[in-house]
Amino acid sequence: MAPLVDTRPARSRLRRGVSVRDAGPPIALLVIVLILSLLSPQFRTMGNALNILDAAAVLAVVTCGTTFVLLLGSIDLSAAGVMGASSLVVAVLVENSRNNLDLGTLGILIAVVLAAALGCVSGLLVVLLKVPSFMTTLGVSAIGLGVATLVFDGVQPGVVDPSLRSWATGRLLGLTYLTWIAVVCVLLAWFVQRYTRLGRYAMAIGGAEEVLALSGVRVGPYKVAVFTMAGAFYGLGAVMVTSQLGSGLVQSGASYTFASITAAVVGGTLLVGGRGGVLHSTVGVLLLTVLTNGLVLIGVSPYVQGGVQGLIVVVAVAVAAAPLRHRNQVVK
């Protein structure tokens, strides 16, 4: 009888199956925070902690979107272009230095919806034309950059809208509004992942898409929905960047495509799909942000910072993947 009797407590819920791999990134984060705290008195101040959270906010929001696409087993390279388009659209729709429009919140909403629409296009291309997401999202990114360049039209639109500007400057309980937005996004994304059909099916598609299809589920619509949702997160991220920069820039999202994928993977949301999740990815975001912040504070030359950060990321991923290795494994 032994193997079939389950004596473990019934209320263990989803926590069962938490492995070394899941625990690895949080432990790495703690260790790095500890080391940096020992090395730098400036690092271990409350003010710096708030700075780190503020600096992580945009990446956290963007990574929420990327995470769902990675859970599918797809990849999304469209963040840069989608964010560029949204950034310019929001900058010319709210009160700005270029035209007389002052749509306020509606302008922000339009920018986010535009981003979601671009995400939807990626999803439709993947599902209907069966083009790999790597190519479709790269193409959509280029389209987004094109839209952004058209709207930019040679003159940089400065954001005047006081409420949008206050996103980056206003504080509530010590945290900037951007930080609060990021916290809400992460919680919302986590809720979607944990408590909605969309989130759970995204997991299942990454885990075993054929099984889902064999159970009579049409997976296409869920894939499109995931790409659309990811686009919305990029759009919101772009609005946040625009608030920080005070103007709409074509290149406002340029660094976020790979930063968000890196953060997700470092946190344990693997590229194979179905592994990790929003909270994992958020740990990855914090890990990257803490590293960037800490390396500056302990006085690592800016010339080697990039290299050191890359090295730490590669080591972290190699350690996390170690238990999965086997002989003759094919890695691409």
Binding site: D6, L212, R327
Partner: protein, 515 residues
């Protein structure tokens, strides 16, 4: 439809009937007019060798394969099953051999997947409801698995229970007692787990009909009320375990005709005193242990065993492709390095994998590229490919093995299966240094003509002194080709049967050792 009336009169308790089912694939007739009848609350066994048509039949019953001809009736109603959901709506569900659960979801989600009902409202999960729904299914089979455990944290046996619970959900759709198909459910279970599964099957019989498929005859006889025997895509008989013995069943499975003569014409004369070439002592790995084995130069040794006997892994281990934990292997007296395929290649070991299209060849690459894949030096000067050397050696082997291809530049995927297999064999011959060939189902999926060419080739190679370890597709093939047959069961070698050309054992002699 007068036929329906007839069925209804003849035996009212028949829940599923199959008549004259035919399914042909290029080169083979997988089903050749199968008739089958499943009655209410019975456990029906399906027995048959590899290739007898069992899995095609099962796939037809759950709508994964569409038959070319023949009819399926559920409770007297003619049905057409287009997909798994269709089958489920008619009350037919299958527990797949290679498990079909989403590993990163909870057991509960898997059980209700695609048919969540009240567990998801407007796209939002209601975990408590889902848990209760799943618990209801698990209770039916008396399982105590936590419904909220992640599926990949469960053991294989536990996952099987989850699959059974999932299949039982089809009761909700039909409000009739379902037909549950168990495809080789015992192949990877421990003996104690098998006993639990059998209890489960007997419990299922209370409210469902079960089709139980297994390689192992003793199991079929143990748990089934009736057994159908399939051979060559036809049902060749029906047996009641009460009055049957395993031997009788086997005679039906294998058929009366003995191993055919055309491929074991072992006319090749060998050295009077053949040298030991491969010696294996105490080899152990994840699925086999204590393996002692000798193969002499020019000898063909076949390893037979049921699915899960560990013979495939043994074969891969000798090539260094799966890890070993203990043991010593020598080739011509020298220790063979088992740390990886590279070392094995260098030592003159060749391996023809069972999955030709996945592991055996690079489909879009040319015949020449595939043939020289393992021994690049035959076509290169240093790191550079010399076209003249390549064309000389490749053309030589194309003609020596009479490989039918438009040319050496043709992509290998455009060749027929038999010719592909010859190219893969040639890969080990071009170097001129092959001493041991490991052939994992070398004739799988080949038609009769291609098979006999591969057999002839194997004979020729043996004649030149190559030692061959063969995992045969069928017992007849093993007996026909081999000089010696080794029987594996549960990871160990349990018997060794000499197999000289003049005194071939019968398949039954081997089967006795296998079960």
């Amino acid at each position: 439809m007068s036929a329906e009336g007839v069925i209804a009169q003849r035996s009212p308790s028949v829940v599923l009937e199959v008549r004259g089912l035919v399914k042909a694939y290029p080169g083979v007739k997988a089903l050749n007019g199968v008739d089958l009848e499943v009655r209410q609350n019975e456990v029906l066994g399906l027995a048959g060798e590899n290739g007898a048509g069992k899995s095609t039949l099962l796939k037809t019953l759950v709508g994964l394969v569409r038959p070319d001809a023949g009819e399926i009736y559920v409770r007297g109603q003619r049905v057409r099953l287009r997909n798994v959901v269709d089958a489920a709506n008619h009350g037919i569900g299958m527990v797949f051999q290679e498990q079909s659960l989403v590993p990163n979801l909870t057991a509960a989600e898997n059980i209700v997947l695609g048919c969540e009902g009240p567990a998801i409202r407007r796209g939002f999960y209601r975990w408590a409801t889902m848990r209760a729904l799943a618990q209801e299914q698990l209770d039916k089979i008396g399982s105590t698995i936590d419904p909220l455990a992640r599926t990949d944290s469960l053991t294989f046996a536990e996952r099987q229970m989850v699959e059974i619970a999932k299949v039982l959900r089809i009761e909700q759709r039909t409000h009739n007692s379902p037909v549950i198909i168990l495809d080789e459910p015992t192949s990877v279970l421990e003996p104690s787990e098998i006993e639990t599964l059998f209890e489960q099957v007997r419990r299922l019989r209370e409210f469902a009909s079960v089709i139980f498929v297994s390689h192992r005859l003793d199991e079929v006889l143990d748990v089934c009320d009736r057994v159908y025997v399939l051979r060559g895509g036809q049902s060749v008989g029906e047996v009641r375990p009460a009055d049957a013995v395993a031997g009788e069943l086997h005679r039906m499975m294998i058929g009366s005709e003995s191993h055919e003569d055309h491929y074991h014409g072992s006319a090749v004369t060998r050295d009077e005193t053949p040298r030991e070439r491969l010696t294996v002592r105490g080899l152990a790995g994840a699925t086999f242990r204590d393996v002692d084995l000798d193969v002499r130069a020019g000898e063909i040794v076949a390893v037979v065993g049921v699915h899960g006997s560990g013979r495939e892994e043994l074969c891969k281990a000798l090539f260094g492709a799966v890890a070993t934990t203990a043991g010593e292997v020598t080739l011509d007296g020298e220790r063979l390095d088992l740390t990886g395929p590279r070392a094995a290649c260098a030592a003159g070991v060749g391996y023809v994998p069972a999955e030709r299209k996945v592991e055996g060849m690079v489909g879009p690459m040319s015949v020449a590229d595939n043939m020289t894949l393992a021994k690049q030096r035959v076509r290169c000067a240093g790191p550079v490919i010399v076209p003249k050397r390549q064309s000389d050696i490749v053309d030589k082997w194309i003609s020596r093995l009479s490989i039918r291809t438009p040319g050496r530049r043709t992509a290998i995927q455009r060749l027929s299966g038999g010719n592909q297999q010859k190219v893969i064999l040639a890969r080990w011959l071009v170097g001129g240094d092959v001493r041991l060939l490991l052939l994992d189902h070398p004739t799988r999926g080949l038609d009769v003509g291609a098979r006999s060419e591969v057999y002839r080739l194997m004979r020729e190679l043996a004649g030149t002194g190559v030692a061959t370890l063969l995992l045969a597709d069928s017992l007849e093939e093993a007996i026909g080709m081999a000089d010696r047959v080794v029987v594996m069961s549960d990871g160990r070698i349990v018997a060794e049967v000499p197999c000289p050309p003049d005194r071939k054992p019968s398949p039954l002699d081997l089967v006795k050792e296998m079960v």
